[in-house]
Symmetry: C2
Subunit: 316 residues, 2 copies
């Protein structure tokens, strides 16, 4: 057996190609929690007395984030943790994920809010998908379920966080998500959106709760191994609508690159951090206003949520 590089006592169970470290289960778990702590400090994600809400879908990443933050928050008696799950209305998928979210929150004694597309927007995602498939106007062609679900989910999370009166909304985007999104934005012709792939998304409007991504520097593979080692239970069935062809191609490419050139995802992530200030300056000029229909912060007259709902004749 190979001995752990850290403790030099226990057997190694994980080999980290980009650092050469060989880690035992205990040191691996410690290294991930430490990495998250360092990321939080580096990007100044939290204050010692922050009320933090975690967006918990019930999947591997978000449940893991909940477990790690629950551990970290213990050390800050003035801080607090709660969770929110958005029920998009996806039959045969969301019900089970919800159960995992509920179970994990209960186990960790974390207050848990559930919000739904149906309550907030009067429509389930399943219904939206059907309507869009039926109508197929020029406005909706090319709109993938992920595209509008994302818009509505971000809104739902922000509303929940605002109503709970929290200071920060933590999402579980990992290093793979972030690097994929960087390339996706570039290949979609939307390079300026890279400015939004941010460990901390600064509130530019009083109605927007600050979003933070404490797992943004942890590779997906290591989150999975962490969850496995800590026997964390989560939903592992993928969403039935998940089908962004381009993103899976990019995921494949980045995984292959990482295999050949260990550490390349992290390099890409840090590389983009370097140009972020310049990009942020470029997008800073777009001041947010309030949507004339729903009053939520938006760039134009009408927010994206209302645009989607209008297109589908769900609202006037």
């Amino acid at each position: 057996m190979v001995i752990c590089t850290f403790c030099k006592r226990r057997d190694a169970v994980y080999m980290r190609p980009y650092s050469g470290e060989k880690l035992c289960a205990k040191c691996f778990i410690g290294s991930i929690e430490n990495k998250v702590r360092v990321t939080i400090a580096e990007y100044e994600m939290f204050q010692h007395d922050d009320k933090i809400m975690v967006a918990v879908s019930g999947g591997k990443d978000s449940v893991t984030l909940l477990h790690i933050l629950a551990k970290l928050v213990e050390k800050f008696p003035k801080s607090s943790l709660c969770a929110v799950t958005v029920d998009e209305g996806i039959k045969g998928y969301r019900e089970e994920a919800l159960k995992f979210a509920v179970k994990n929150c209960r186990k960790l004694n974390v207050e848990h809010t559930i919000t739904s597309f149906k309550d907030l927007f009067g429509v389930k995602l399943d219904e939206l998908v059907k309507t869009i498939q039926k109508t197929r106007t020029d406005d909706t062609r090319g709109l993938t379920p992920c595209a509008y679900c994302g818009v509505l989910r971000r809104r739902a999370l922000n509303v929940a966080a605002r109503e709970a009166g929290v200071d920060k909304l933590a999402t579980a985007h990992n290093l793979d998500d972030e690097t994929q999104t960087i390339l996706l934005n570039l290949l979609h012709g939307d390079a300026l959106r890279i400015a939004r792939v941010n460990p901390v998304l600064a509130e530019s409007h009083p109605k927007l709760v600050q979003r933070v991504k404490p797992l943004c520097e942890v590779p997906e593979k290591e989150i999975a191994f962490y969850a496995y080692q800590r026997r964390i239970k989560f939903q592992s069935v993928p969403c039935p609508y998940a089908s962004t062809a381009l993103r899976s191609d990019i995921r494949l490419f980045l995984n292959r690159m990482e295999e050949k050139h260990a550490g390349i995802k992290f390099t890409l992530f840090k590389s983009v951090e370097k140009i972020k200030p310049a990009l942020e300056q470029a997008v800073a000029e777009t001041k947010l206003r309030e949507c004339k229909f729903c009053g939520e912060p938006t760039v134009g007259d009408v927010c994206k949520v209302c645009q989607i709902l209008q297109t589908l004749n769900i609202i006037g």
Copy 2:
């Protein structure tokens, strides 16, 4: 047979996936020349009375560029065209490429200068490669032949252009080169270098001749087909040192993406054009000085060329 979408008379020989056009040989040739004309106008690459030097390696892209520019320049009686070839000193490779460069220039009646690493830097690339393989200090580890050859070649081209008193130095970088370089810079952790992947590289020092890339919006595949249709002769053996593993992986990825999502290279290229102004502002602050050894423009005290030659004990 399928009829040409353009002239609606001749048989189509080329199908352009990203536009759906099916083109006959004549219309295809015209479309490439027109594309180059549009690129030149869009980025204001040339004045009507410019003295233009083309960097001709003897390969497909540079020889094609020479042919296209020779045609375009005919219409501007006050402009002129000449060519330069850099002999890096690569045995069994450069000699043949040089022959193609000479032949094409002669055929087009274009004045042709040949410059060499040996004359300029006192050393051939073959010798440099051997020295680096022998020494392998911390400074030279990880330096690929392409890396230092690129630095020396750019210097050689600039010196040749300056000595010839031309206004512009045209290089044959195509859409594939440029998009690969964009991703390469990102994955290398050097995102700010994207600012230099520019159709027009503005002179920021009186000793630097302005560089332009008239083929930057033409896919490599179409340049090859253009050369084939016009029966242009070029060197097709790849350089024996060409071995940038990461670049070939990126090339493969982009080619696969282009096959699945036609036009994605162009989208990526244009996407980055959008963030260029922000990046350029960020790098604009680095003022160029003159190298204390050779007097050529550089960011620091000592230029990269002198750094390379010093590391290898070729100069003091």
